[in-house]
């Protein structure tokens, strides 16, 4: 009904010549009075012409065509879609923070620097590592920072001949892509039947050419690498470094310190474990920590505290710079707020509840949707289905059908080693009632699969659009108006 009256138009389609949303004071002279003719823009850009109210309506309507964590449960594995406390929304953008310029005199930005320094210190405490940089803007950016830091370490330790990075087949795609971007050859190793690292395969792959082994802990099938200490020793024995992808750190926070495992370098995701929102895809923040022997090679500058003054310190052995300035500061402020709201006991409870919730979902769905590895999991569980016994219904159909029930889809078809994977990470901030509702939805979808599979295969039915033919977009790309 509404669709007939209010079309879902692009802003440019709503545009009418002469409308505008903001007005500025008039300059006294024209641009041509200041710049040579050849330096001037010839035609105005084709931007929409909308009133302020048009613009507010347009973007408000668009926002309403989104699922969001504030409204729905996101059972997205490996993404840690947990509640983003509202206090941080305001605190992270207080005017003195928002207006602080990266080239302002240090005496004028002591408040910002103090927060960054304290955050570095807190991250050191919860991981046991010796130093942290806050520069990386995202998890993958952190990975690249970490691997280039490892490379700088090896270059300084006669390790220039080390050309390989070992990555398990369960790793996020960013791991191998990162190693390649850092100029390394990727050596993929298979996982053992229990879902953990195959130590024999690792042993065979480790040589004096190995620079780094990248491990996600807990791994992407939701299991802790029980032999991590032994693995670290194997890695160190050949002179390589152990990199820990900390995307899943929500399972460990307060429970264990990666430095104790023998981890040399790791990244954390402030937009996962530390309560910062995902913003529809970013900005994130991916701080990188390093053990004592690797710390000098982290990017520069780091924030230090000397003689009562916080300062941005240059570092002579540093690998360089990963970003024009010092990090996604507004996201770092959120991370700092998070770590100040919890002490050691409550952090531990957060991890425990994350693990409890994942196991509850796994146990309740057993029989209809079984875990690929039938054992207790950490903060997420990876389920699998067999389309042959499900009337030809695939994981993607179940994901789309969940949208109709008011739930976002789980992470699907990942990790790649699990066929038809459905990866569920409830996080600790969902209540038992919400988990029960999700479980009921999954059970009803299972019933539909048996009685009316077509309704599942054609889902979603309740979204602003029906199922999208993604291939149609790539055939003749339309990427702009």
């Amino acid at each position: 009904m509404q669709e007939i009256l209010i079309k879902n138009e692009l802003s440019i389609e709503k545009s009418r010549p002469g409308r505008r949303g903001v007005r500025y004071a008039k300059a006294q002279k024209k641009a041509s009075d200041y710049l040579p003719a050849g330096y001037l823009r010839q035609e105005n850009p084709r931007l929409p012409e909308l009133s302020e109210f048009d613009t507010v309506r347009h973007f408000t309507r668009l926002s309403q065509q989104n699922y969001c964590l504030d409204g729905q449960f996101y059972p997205l594995g490996s993404c840690t879609m947990k509640y983003n406390p509202k206090a941080y929304d305001t605190l992270s953008v207080l005017e003195p923070f928002a207006k602080a310029h990266p080239f302002a005199p240090e005496s004028a930005v002591q408040g910002t620097l103090e927060i960054l320094y304290n955050l570095q210190e807190l991250l050191k405490k919860i991981t046991g590592l010796a130093a942290f940089t806050l520069q990386p803007a995202a998890g993958a950016h952190g990975e690249l920072t970490g691997i280039l830091t490892a490379r700088a370490y090896h270059d300084a330790h006669n390790g220039a001949n080390r050309t390989e990075v070992i990555v398990p087949d369960t790793a996020h795609g960013t791991n191998p892509a990162t190693a390649n971007m850092a100029g390394y050859t990727v050596v993929n190793i298979k996982s053992a039947p229990n879902g953990c690292v195959d130590k024999e395969a690792l042993k065979a792959a480790l040589t004096d050419k190995t620079a780094v082994v990248m491990l996600t802990v807990p791994n992407t099938v939701g299991l802790f690498e029980t032999d991590i200490r032994e693995i670290a020793e194997m890695v160190h024995k050949v002179g390589a470094l152990l990199y820990m992808d900390g995307a899943n750190f929500n399972a460990l926070i307060g429970l264990a310190k990666p430095a104790d495992f023998g981890v040399d370098i790791m990244h954390l995701n402030l937009h996962k474990t530390f309560g910062a929102p995902h913003g529809g895809g970013g900005p994130g923040s991916g701080p990188v920590g390093a053990a004592e022997h690797v710390a000098p090679y982290l990017p520069q500058p780091l924030v230090t505290f000397e003689n009562g003054h916080y300062t941005l310190a240059q570092r002579p052995e540093s690998m360089g710079k990963m970003k024009a300035f010092y990090g996604n500061i507004a996201v770092c402020i959120r991370g700092y707020c998070y770590l100040r709201q919890f002490d050691a006991t409550t952090l531990k409870e957060i991890a425990e509840n994350a693990i409890l919730n994942a196991n509850y979902v796994r146990a309740r769905l057993k029989g209809k949707f079984n875990a690929f590895f039938d054992r207790n999991c950490m903060h997420e569980c990876v389920l699998t289905i067999d389309p042959h016994s499900m009337n030809g219904v695939h994981t993607s159909d179940i994901a789309k059908r969940l949208l109709d029930y008011g739930f976002y889809a789980p992470t699907i078809y990942f990790p790649l080693i699990v066929p038809e994977a459905i990866m569920v990470e409830p996080t600790e901030t969902e209540s038992k009632e919400m988990l029960d509702a999700f479980i009921s939805a999954m059970e009803r979808i299972y019933e539909e699969v048996c009685t009316d599979a077509q309704v599942v295969k054609e889902a979603p039915h309740t979204q602003p659009v029906r199922r999208i033919d993604e291939v149609s977009a790539a055939r003749q790309p339309n990427l702009r108006w």
């Binding site: 692009l10 409308r19 310029h101 080239f103 390649n180 913003g279 970003k323 770590l339 054609e458 033919d469």
Partner: protein, 441 residues
Amino acid sequence: MFTPTTQKDKEEMLQKIGVSSIEELLQQIPSQFLYPTLDLPHALTEAELTAHIHELAAKNKPLKNFIGAGMYEHFIPAAVPALSSRGEFLTAYTPYQAEASQGTLQTIYEFQSCVCALMNMDVATASHYDGATAMTEAVLAAARITGRKEVIVSTLLHPHYKEVLTTYTRHAGLTITEAKVQTNATLAIKELQAQLSDKTACFVLPTPNFLGNLEDAQAVSEVVHAAGALLVAVVNPISLGVVQTPGEYNADFAVCEGQPLGNPISFGGPGLGIMAAKKAYVRQLPGRIVGIAKDHDAKRAFVLTLQAREQHIRREKASSNICSNEALCALNAVIYLTLLGPQGLREVAELNLERAHQLADLINAIPGFKAGTGAPFFNEFLVSCPMTAKEVIEKMAERGIAAGHDLGNTCTAMKNCLLVCATELRTESELKAYADALRGI
């Protein structure tokens, strides 16, 4: 409480799982690691946290800002944060489930479209971490496209951008050299021409350059293309309201720091990396791109597309490792550009131009100080001082003014040089107050 699970819930859940305690679920973690001692400060309540953060914020000193050098203070209309901070945008995930993410996807499509219009380019990506990483990824794409390994950058590229480029590409087999500058702090195009060869993958042209001057981009483009190399333009997005666009001078890639488009400075981050390119290079672009598709009823819908370039599909063969980007900052930018429209963009650009030139004139009237180098500039310019820039900055800070960026930090030969910026936010009386203060030091 952050976690809603009650003791009763916990007991029921453990029973369903079939274990007697949480510890039983943790058995996969070797006990030697479990429950380490953590020396953390006591937990603050929300009220205590709020007071604590306000206290820290008060330690930042509000100075009237005349610093640019890569991050610029512009007016942000109230509707920008009001809309982008809606929970529906702020707490949404990456729009992989397109049917449930049409809002975010359409805003990205509109962002890409506005970027293309602003730059006069064919295609744009959904965003990158910041201007420096967007530029670096464009250089890497240019090397892949041309199969060449040598990169030339202007000496007047932002020093931090140079550092990021070097850090990222140190192991990519690229050599990076710098192109020389003339005495008026613009590019020596003849010398660049001699430097270019059939091994040059691309030339990186910042305009305005780090010292604020606009380059003769048309002439640069011609010599770069004559050598079969690609042109990567690094621009100021607000300047494009009046200044010749990358598309007009035939740039192959156009990148910029998009922060000036509706995003606060926030001590340098989050920034907004913007990348646009010619259509021919679309399949070499890094990162997410949104396109139009059809749904089951042949209705228009938006999806992430050309994903075969990306890490989650291609793994080590991907065009980049980028995953998370700066979607929310891109949303700020598209709301900002929608509010301004073509007319507002022109007006704000003209005001920047005017305020910076007015300030330069005021400074030139002060004995011992010289503003500008004689080359055209936009909203930022070089000031030579009769003392060190450091001293000027300290004395001006005492008067409540952030006088500019100390160029001595980049190059000791420029220790008496200051980079000064005036955007549309600096009123004429503030410009006058700046000049009066400078005269008084």
